[in-house]
């Protein structure tokens, strides 16, 4: 497929037009990937409901059957289950442990631990653990494993 990229001056002008005979799996993936940044998740901030943009999410954690969404400096509760969010946030996110999904773009660096697991430092300074089992998943997402 021929791809044209035109540089624009502001984010508001950003758009993607796809001309295709049929919406194939690849095109659907591309659409979802492009729309990913524009997607929001309804979350509870106390008694208020706020829409949390997916690109602002650092990680999502499940604690005692409740799901919490963490941004740079805020924490919200959401009605989604972790596995549901894993499906919604599939592109830049990966499961780093049984109870957590993390935004890869918010990881500053990773450090190897003694037992094969890794500690990831996020852009806001928080540290999370990547279980040994899920290190493979991260490598696969980053294209380091075939």
């Amino acid at each position: 497929m021929k791809v044209n990229v035109i540089q624009v001056n502001s984010a508001v002008e950003e758009k993607a037009d796809i001309c295709a005979v049929k919406i194939t799996e690849e095109i659907q993936s591309a659409i979802e990937l492009l729309e990913d940044n524009r997607r929001s998740i309804p979350c509870a901030d106390g008694s208020e409901t706020v829409m949390c943009r997916t690109e602002t999410i650092y990680y999502v954690e499940s604690v005692d059957k409740r799901t919490y969404v963490y941004t740079k400096d805020k924490c919200y509760e959401t009605k989604y289950r972790l596995y549901e969010l894993e499906k919604i946030l599939k592109f830049h996110y990966f499961r780093c442990s049984k109870a957590m999904i993390v935004n890869i773009r918010k990881i500053k660096s990773v450090k190897a631990e003694m037992n094969g697991r890794m500690t990831a430092e996020l852009l806001n300074g928080e540290q999370i653990v990547i279980s040994r089992y899920y290190v493979k998943e991260l490598k696969r997402k980053l294209g380091l494993m075939i």
Binding site: I104, M118, S131, Y133, G143, L144
Partner: protein, 146 residues
Amino acid sequence: MTKVKIVFNQTLMISTAILFGIGIQWWIEYMSGGSGTVVWYWYSPFEIIFTGFMGAVPTVLICDWKGRGLGKMRLGIRLFLHFICLGAMVSFCGYLFKWYGGWKEYLPIAVMYVLIYGFVWAVTRWLTKSDAKKINEVLKEIQDQE
């Protein structure tokens, strides 16, 4: 399922390590003018695999590699316990299968065990560190600017 996988992997790893130890021992004997011949009974491979399996049990019981949980101190204690229990299991199986008759024959086995354990540990650590380095290189290219 994960535990079954760990037992299977550990059985393979320990069995290979035992074969490697036997190989080194007989190579040393050959190099120092001995015959370098191993008496290999029909049940010898089963003895090695059984020892590998028995050695996998302490790994499942002692090493909690999953999730967060263990601090450096507790991890160190568990590792030490694992080292002792695995050594005890190999020694016990070696005694059961008459791989050694007395201290003189046991000592090279014990030395070999310490060397192989240290070697496997060092290689695993090196591999994890090298993975972390590769991951950090890719992360630098895709991480958000905040």
